[in-house]
């Protein structure tokens, strides 16, 4: 983490497919040893960026450096990075052990050392006894682990992960998120992780970059990106956010500037309750109530127009409260400091 040379550096990188700018002037430093996530909706350019780093694709313009060395036009087999593919891409005609050993075999590592390292790797991901199986005989989660160690065994400088948990069910995915994070800390390799799942990005990353329409909207730690979204897109994509602008903004904060407020920061109070210092307030009527177990989501129609989404922890709420809340007139309040001015793309 102390070295000043970034693991990956993008300098004004663009990748165009005909008229489509899949990656549009992206400049980015990914530090050595960090868990960095490329987050964005499908088609936002995050996977293309990963493919540019892996060498499966090459930038139209701009420069890509790995550990300070320009690699923009090098083929994948000349780069010290390895990839965990979305579909795992395990070789179906080889056993699990042969799959994991593939990179070492190509590098002509002696068979004995190869076998030792393969066993060590398989044990690390609790697949100790399964080396002689074929990939088709494994479950989704097991295949995922094989794909991970097949890449890790080569001790790359950077490991690229392309939505590796996308095909797994929720429980397994959450378990694997923690496992991946633990493995990353154990091996100390830079992980670059592509996902469209903002929760996954917040859970695992040291830092993340949010992509939209080929452009990098914001780079920061999960807390920075969540608490201080730089643009309206980031505010809406990372977590749920209320975007307030125009006349409604004027009614609440006295200026028509666009701002966002997170639903969990808003408190629901009785109509006409006094507004304390430093608080914003908006009057409205509860239009919709969605009970979500740990919390409840309210949609409140504002007197000033528009609506706000509000979530409240179900600390003392009874299901009856939830049922009778609809239609009630309320006053919403929140600390002024939770308002975030955002840059709106025209």
């Amino acid at each position: 983490m102390t070295t000043s040379i970034p693991a990956v550096r993008f300098t004004h990188v663009s990748r165009h497919f005909g008229d489509v700018r899949a990656v549009d002037d992206v400049s980015l430093d990914i530090l050595d040893g960090e868990f960095f996530t490329l987050l964005g909706p499908s088609g936002s350019g995050k996977t293309t960026c990963l493919r540019l780093i892996a060498g499966f694709d090459h930038p139209t313009t701009g420069r890509i450096e790995l550990q300070g060395v320009e690699v923009s036009s090098l083929p994948p087999y000349e780069r010290d990075v390895n990839t965990v593919f979305q579909d795992y891409a395990l070789f179906p005609h080889m056993t699990v052990a042969e799959n994991v050993a593939y990179g070492l075999m190509i590098k002509k590592v002696p068979p004995r050392e190869r076998a030792t390292r393969v066993n060590e790797m398989l044990r690390m991901v609790q697949l100790g006894g399964l080396g002689r199986r074929k990939p088709s005989q494994l479950s989704g989660g097991q295949r995922q682990r094989v794909a991970l160690v097949r890449a890790l065994i080569n001790r790359p400088r950077v490991l690229l992960l392309d939505e590796p948990l996308g095909a797994l069910d929720l429980k397994l995915r959450q378990q694997m998120q923690l496992e991946l994070k633990a493995i990353q800390q154990q091996v100390g390799i830079t992980f670059i992780y592509v996902t469209h799942d903002q929760e996954e990005a917040l859970t695992m990353s040291d830092r993340l970059g949010v992509f939209n329409a080929g452009r990098l909207e914001q780079v920061g730690t999960p807390a920075e990106v969540y608490e201080h979204p730089a643009t309206d897109f980031v505010a809406g994509f990372v977590g749920v956010s209320n975007l307030v602008s125009g006349l409604v903004a004027e009614a609440i904060i006295g200026s028509p500037q666009t701002f966002t407020i997170r639903p969990e920061k808003i408190l629901i109070r009785g109509a006409g309750e006094p507004i304390s210092d430093g608080m914003c307030a908006a009057d409205g009527r509860i239009r919709d109530v969605i009970y979500l177990g740990a919390h409840t989501r309210y949609r409140v129609e504002l007197a000033a127009g528009g609506e706000l989404t509000v979530t409240q922890q179900n600390v003392d709420t009874t299901p009856l409260d939830v049922q009778t809340a609809r239609g009630r007139t309320v006053r919403l309040m929140w600390h002024r400091t939770h308002n975030r001015q955002v840059f709106t793309r025209p």
Binding site: A54, P76, H93
Partner: protein, 307 residues
């Protein structure tokens, strides 16, 4: 419709609830065809091969004997079998080598339009008569033909003449030589190799090729360790066609050959002019046995592991 519909519906429902009956109805005609007509004639053939010909009367003796198979192993007949199997093997290897690049291009790089055009180009020759194509090749390969003309223009006639002097495969001209026969066999069976190889290559996911490169393998390594093993079942499927078709063919050897017979010609001659049906049948069994051995060997080599 108003009276027909309920009946059709009742039939549909009846069959829907009895899948075994529906399956039986669907399978009976093809199975009857395969079982009776096809397998039946094969059995008849096999039985015939265990009869023998009375050399004195020219009558078939309908008594079980291995004598006919004994005749098969005379020097002349063994030559015929080896010549045919050698040609089939050479054609198969050449077809695999020639088909692979085109199949690879079609499967991985060609645009949908280009792919359709190439499929058409591969299949188009099959729309015209096989006989016409073989005799066209006779003209192409003739001494006065376009191939000779081109070779002469390129001042390579020395090379061609040298090739034709080679014992075994040479001859007075390409149109009367094993070499010419090989060229024509390769031409007529190539589509049967291209199509299965292309289908096999198309089923190799792009990500596997990327993964191999990602793990440090150069394209040559990726080809040898990933693409070829995964496409191998397609090559074997294609080789079954090219090998079996060459083993059984008698038109090409007849059109381009000399007095050195191939199995197909031997069968034709024995069952026709010679009237030796048992020996013709025994000859016919040979390609079947060779193919059986071939398939077992292919399975041993792991050709079907990736299926």
């Amino acid at each position: 419709m108003s009276t027909g519909a309920p009946l059709a519906r009742r039939i549909s429902t009846y069959l829907y609830r009895r899948p075994a009956l529906a399956l039986g109805l669907l399978l009976t005609p093809p199975l009857a065809w395969l079982g009776l007509v096809y397998l039946g004639s094969l059995v008849a053939l096999l039985v015939q091969s265990f009869f023998s010909l009375d050399g004195f009367t020219g009558q078939v003796v309908r008594r079980f004997t291995f004598a006919t198979y004994g005749d098969l192993f005379t020097r002349a007949n063994v030559d015929i079998i080896l010549r045919t199997a050698g040609m089939a093997a050479a054609v198969t290897v050449a077809a695999a080598v020639a088909a692979f690049p085109l199949a690879y291009y079609m499967a991985r790089y060609a645009s949908p339009r280009m792919k359709a055009a190439l499929f058409l180009a591969v299949l188009l020759p099959l729309w015209s008569s096989y006989l016409v194509r073989v005799y066209s090749w006779k003209l192409i390969l003739a001494k006065e033909g376009i191939l000779n003309w081109t070779v002469t223009r390129l001042r390579l006639e020395g090379v061609l003449e040298w090739l034709l002097t080679l014992p075994g495969i040479g001859g007075p001209s390409l149109s009367v030589s094993l070499l010419g026969m090989f060229i024509v066999f390769l031409y007529v069976w190539l589509p049967y190799m291209i199509l299965p190889v292309e289908a096999a290559l198309e089923r190799v996911p792009e990500s596997l090729i990327e993964a191999s490169g990602d793990l440090g393998a150069r394209p040559a390594d990726t080809f040898r360790r990933v693409i070829l093993p995964l496409a191998f079942p397609g090559v074997v499927a294609g080789s079954i066609f090219t090998f079996a078709l060459t083993l059984g063919d008698f038109i090409v050897p007849y059109a381009l050959g000399n007095s050195a017979f191939f199995i197909g010609q031997a069968v034709l001659a024995h069952q026709g002019t010679a009237g030796n049906i048992p020996l013709a049948a025994a000859f016919t069994v040979v390609p079947t046995v060779i193919m059986a051995f071939y398939l077992v060997a292919a399975k041993r080599a792991g050709a079907f592991d990736a299926l």
